[in-house]
């Protein structure tokens, strides 16, 4: 057994796990606040990456401005989507809204293809290129820095979520919508802001993912792995998303390295099946009790 190789793979897995955790966080937030599983998260992530490319390569703006603009624009799109197609569905069954987001994903793919074409593209390189060595183990610089950024964003986010007023309102809404309403919390506004916020997170994740492996309209399949992350962690658990994100990242990368590229998806979904059988509501999710 080549332990150096093993640890290098582990590092790479940790890196992609960090990005899963970040995107998973966005998915869990939407679910917690609005009880919607956003199947379009992968497509929103893709949109963010393309908008970034549009600003940085198309309009030749500086990188930092492009990143900020891409995140803002995608956030705006998230807000519009919420108002236009999610708000009218309030009170409908979870499954209907779930399917609406599937439709949304399809629309986003088409829009991106019309604007930027279907060919795979590359983002402008903006991360340092010097290789990172942790002891002897090599870590791709892009993956390393992406992990670092993801970790910082997640950390910041958790602090805000705990302390800031809006974060409290969000948690209150998540706990009990009716009660939150009666306490004077503007629930529709919370809904909108959650969509804006999570779309912004997804855009950021999209820029990171895209700068590692390039972008294409079908990079939305990334969302499938993220879906596994949140189901494994528990749909309503932030901590679960973080842990499961790392777990899925590691399992996927090890499977890819030792078994072959085609085993990546299989390993991820096998994990999903195992978790669904052992703990149907995820490792950290709450089991909701139904009453008549």
């Amino acid at each position: 057994m080549d332990w150096l190789f093993f640890s290098e793979i582990g590092l790479a897995g940790l890196g992609s796990g960090g990005l899963y955790a970040l995107t998973g966080l966005a998915l869990v937030l939407i679910y917690k606040a609005t009880r919607v599983v956003n199947m379009a998260i992968g497509e929103i992530l893709m949109l963010g990456a393309y908008v970034f490319m549009g600003f940085s390569a198309g309009l030749a703006l500086p990188i930092w401005a492009s990143i900020i603009l891409a995140i803002l624009v995608t956030g705006l799109v998230g807000g519009v989507v919420e108002r236009a197609i999610i708000r009218p569905m309030l009170g409908e069954s979870a499954i209907s809204i779930f399917m609406i987001t599937i439709g949304l994903g399809s629309v986003l793919i088409g829009v991106v293809e019309i604007i930027w074409g279907a060919n795979p593209q590359r983002l402008i390189e903006f991360m340092p290129k010097d290789p990172i060595f942790i002891l002897d183990a090599y870590l791709s610089p892009k993956v390393g820095y992406a992990f670092l950024i993801a970790a910082i964003v997640v950390g910041l986010f958790l602090i805000i979520f705990r302390t800031w007023r809006g974060g409290v309102a969000l948690r209150a809404t998540a706990g009990d919508q009716a009660a939150a309403y009666s306490m004077g919390i503007n629930v529709p506004k919370v809904f909108s802001s959650v969509w804006v916020l999570t779309s912004m997170i997804a855009a950021g994740a999209g820029i990171l993912v895209g700068s590692i492996g390039g972008i294409s309209p079908d990079m939305g399949v990334y969302g499938l792995s993220v879906l596994v992350v949140v189901i494994v962690g528990g749909l309503d658990s932030l901590l679960g998303a973080l842990i499961a994100g790392i777990l899925v990242g590691l399992i996927e990368t090890y499977a890819g390295a030792y078994l072959g590229g085609e085993f990546k998806m299989l390993a991820t979904f096998m994990l999903l099946v195992v978790v669904l059988v052992i703990r149907p509501y995820g490792l950290f999710g709450t089991h909701e009790i139904e009453r008549l």
């Binding site: 795979p120 390189e125 993956v143 072959g260």
Partner: protein, 390 residues
Amino acid sequence: MSILKVAKRATGALLAAGLITGAAQASDKKDIVLGGSIPLTGVFAFAGVGIHAGITDSVKIINDAGGIEGHKLVYVPEDTAYKVDASVAAYNKITSQHDVNLYYGDSTAFSKTISPELDRSGKTLMTGASFASELNDPEKYPNIFIPGPTYVDMVGILMKHIANEKPGAKVGLVHSETEFGRDPVEGAKATAKELGLDLNLVISTAPGGVDVSTEVLKMRRARPDYVIFHGYVLSPIPEFIGQARSMGLDTKFMGTFWSMDNQMVGKMGEIADGFMGVMPYNYYYTEAENAPMLEKIRSMRDTYQSNAYMQGFFSTIMMAEAARNVIKAGKELNGPNLHEGLEAIKDFDTGGLMGIPVTVKGNSVPIGRVYQYDLSKKQMVPSSDWIRLD
């Protein structure tokens, strides 16, 4: 645009269409239809758009020069989005509306799918975007030909080049996990053995898989002197090269035909310098003596045309030549006769599309040339002479 204008233009277009069909009817010789399942959209759109332009121009040139022995060549394309079932649908649609003798198919999978149908109908000769070695079997695929060397041949040409440069070198093969990507793997293993090369790394990448960091780690372990990519247009080749360079590997990277477009390689940026590959045709910008066809292309289109354009162009003139041979021999246009017509192509001068005269061998045209990217010129420049495989 106002509705009136649209209407005007529409009537104009209809009139034009009417005139064209009228003109066709005026000539007493029957039109020869070239159908096409063309991936104008989807993941292979880059190639599809080029192929479409190449076929269109080539058909125009042939018709301007009096058609195929007086028969007008008509091109009927249909978009497939590079999906097999859509390609089959396109084939069904075109063949139900026209009497199709020539066909361009868009993928290895489609060629294999439709082959039994071609045999059954016995009317059509097909070529396409696929160079799969599997199709190079006149017994099994009598109605299909490959407009160039097979993928195995391409890898073989590259390996020969490697064996000349550095005998016994360590070689890696990175291919996509598709029918297209898997095609040369077994052949490459055999060729490497024959040439005494050490093929110590074979990596398959999942389709749509964007993160290649673990694959690069494997490459770092194997430290191949050369890596051949097959089954990609661009992504993830730049990622591989970029990460390998940042690890300090001085591996040389190579590609097969579909990775060889000048603009695509240019998109890699600095790391493209020294990227090598095999290409059976001349590039749009190639300055060669006795290349009237290249001159004509450059006069028709004043901007760079992709390698896919050349592929579509070459495919068309080969099919037209096969049809010409059939008509000259006074035979009926059908599958078996077209195949004979194709086999009869000996030392055919393509007007500079290929650097040397073309002779069909089996179902393919095993000719190619190794090119290398020169960053200062921003061009692929030849680094070998034309190689004819025997």
